[in-house]
């Protein structure tokens, strides 16, 4: 499909703000939704409203089939060994909380060590800090190198007999540099340490094969890959899913309940207590389809990314963080000399350009970069070169308005 046809599938791309066309460059925060996703949601809400896995009636069977079909589709998308490796959650944050709680309960105790990379989003820091507080475990920070990359050799120095897990994002939501997950997994596995990958950004742009990466856990959010909000995935290797205790109790996750003793259902169901997000989870199917279709726009996406990278790097007033020439997602975080990021975002907003400003849920990384916050433009394949040019032009104007 041509980019024009793809854009037609995303109604929000034709809306205006302040009487100007909206240029949406906040895709790393949440992606826009295609018609197919909305149609799927509407179909489920209008025709297939029924709880899953329990009732015997026809509509319930259909709802169950839609839900379980999504599990199959996600497994295929990640090349997971089986759909049983896929646990549905409400998003990346929920997935990581699940891992920290359940894996933590089974495997992490006083004095054990949790290694977390310095580039992590708060949702890959705070659940582990809460676990450390509960158990007396210790957090070790895997620092970025001077070029803002994660170095495997720095990681190796942190690993020891007490290291119980290594937590790292496939790509940071600020820097956008792709982490060499496969290499890191191989390294950690030589020390018998599992790797927990925050894939919230990586899943959007990288082809993910969890068996090839050999990661132990991989989490992502549906809303960032064009699916309905409130959907998420936690992939884990079977050996962990078998050994991890459930994290929340309730209906659907049990085998048998008596006052004396309750036994749990098998995975993945033991991790899905209560009624899951039955109207939204199946939207992952058309969302993944759209994501895969948009891979055909690779050439245009690459042109947009290199234009923006060039424009930002060649402007002396701008400091770009994570300006790697190799594998980088179209996520550009930068500071402007003499202009506050929030002022810039407010002025750009009035020009129709939507982007993110602030700490971006990565305060420790901001401290490392010695900034109070940054401005971030993040692109999706549906963003055009014209939008990129408009953004650069508006940015220039905004900087002049604020600094001259």
């Amino acid at each position: 499909m041509e980019i024009k046809e793809i854009r037609n599938e995303f109604p929000q791309l034709s809306r205006t703000v302040y009487g100007k066309p909206l240029v949406y460059l906040d895709n790393a925060a949440t992606a826009l939704k295609p018609r197919s996703v909305m149609a799927c949601y509407e179909h489920l809400a209008a025709e297939v409203s029924s709880n899953i896995h329990r009732s015997v009636h026809r509509v319930s069977n259909e709802a169950t089939a839609e839900f379980e079909n999504a599990r199959k589709r996600v497994a295929e998308f990640l090349n997971a060994p089986s759909e049983r490796n896929i646990v549905f959650t409400s998003g990346t944050t929920d997935s990581i909380n699940l891992i920290a709680s359940s894996y933590g309960q089974a495997f992490i105790g006083r004095g054990d060590e949790i290694v977390i990379s310095e580039q992590e989003h708060h949702s890959d820091i705070v659940p582990w800090q809460m676990l450390a507080e509960r158990t007396g475990a210790v957090i070790k920070v895997w620092k970025l190198e001077d070029d803002l990359r994660l170095g495997p050799s720095s990681l190796e120095k942190l690993l020891g007999p007490k290291t119980k897990i290594v937590c790292v994002s496939h790509a940071s939501n600020v820097l956008g540099i792709v982490t060499p997950i496969k290499e890191i997994c191989a390294l950690c596995h030589r020390h018998n340490i599992p790797v927990c990958v925050d894939g919230a950004q990586g899943i959007v742009h990288c082809k993910v094969d969890v068996q090839d990466l050999d990661c132990d856990f991989y989490s992502f959010s549906g809303h960032k890959i064009y699916a309905a909000t409130g959907t998420g995935v936690m992939y884990a290797k079977a050996k962990w899913l078998e050994q991890m205790p459930p994290y929340r109790g309730g209906g659907e996750m049990i085998a048998d309940v008596t006052w004396e003793r309750t036994t749990y259902a098998d995975y993945p169901f033991k991790f899905e207590a209560g009624t899951p997000n039955i109207t939204s989870v199946p939207t992952l199917v058309p969302a993944i389809e759209m994501l895969e279709q948009m891979r055909s726009l690779e050439e245009s996406s690459a042109a947009v990314a290199s234009y923006v990278l060039d424009a930002l790097q060649s402007d002396k007033r701008i400091t770009l963080y994570g300006d790697s020439s190799s594998e980088k997602l179209p996520i550009f975080s930068f500071a402007v000399k003499g202009a506050h990021q929030e002022d810039l975002a407010l002025v750009l907003d009035k020009m129709g350009v939507a982007l993110r400003s602030g700490e971006m849920c990565a305060a420790p990384l901001m401290h490392r970069l010695r900034v109070t916050g940054l401005l971030r433009a993040s692109f999706a394949p549906y963003n055009t070169i014209e939008e990129a040019r408009y953004f650069v032009e508006c940015l220039g104007k905004a900087i002049e308005m604020l600094t001259i």
Partner: protein, 137 residues
């Protein structure tokens, strides 16, 4: 000196000169750039206003029964907003300020056009000015 009502009306009039939000912001930016200098020694934590993503210091002094405000921020639009408030309220009596409802801010539509963090910041600025006035009454 003009009355409080006149000062508020002047701001409402100034704001309504511009149809485009971008122009209203340009106006705020100019106000921010023109904010009176602030003593660096006054940039202390007790003068920091909570609830702003950008940092904002606000100082209040009483002279001859009137309150005078000075402020600074690392963000220029924040400076523009506080400059607007200072222009209206600085030099008034505590009674005048404490008795005011600050609704002209709603009239000019500024609040709806700020990011949530800035809107919080604006609310904190107003709250702080009111508190100064109530304490000095």
């Amino acid at each position: 000196m003009n009355t409080l009502e006149e000062a508020k009306q002047a701001v409402i009039d100034d704001f309504s000169l511009y149809d485009e939000w971008l122009d209203k912001y340009e106006y705020l930016i100019e106000l921010g750039k023109g904010l009176e200098p602030f003593d660096q020694a006054d940039k202390t934590d007790d003068k920091l206003i909570k609830g702003c993503q950008s940092r904002l210091w606000l100082k209040c002094e009483k002279k001859d029964g009137r309150l005078y405000f000075t402020a600074d921020s690392d963000a220029i639009i924040t400076k523009g907003i506080i400059s607007l408030l200072i222009g209206v309220y600085s030099g008034r009596t505590p009674e005048e300020i404490a008795g005011d409802d600050f609704s002209f801010i709603v009239t000019i539509g500024l609040k709806d056009n700020l990011s949530p963090t800035r809107a919080n910041g604006l609310a904190s600025m107003i709250e702080t000015i009111k508190c100064f006035a109530q304490d000095e009454r």
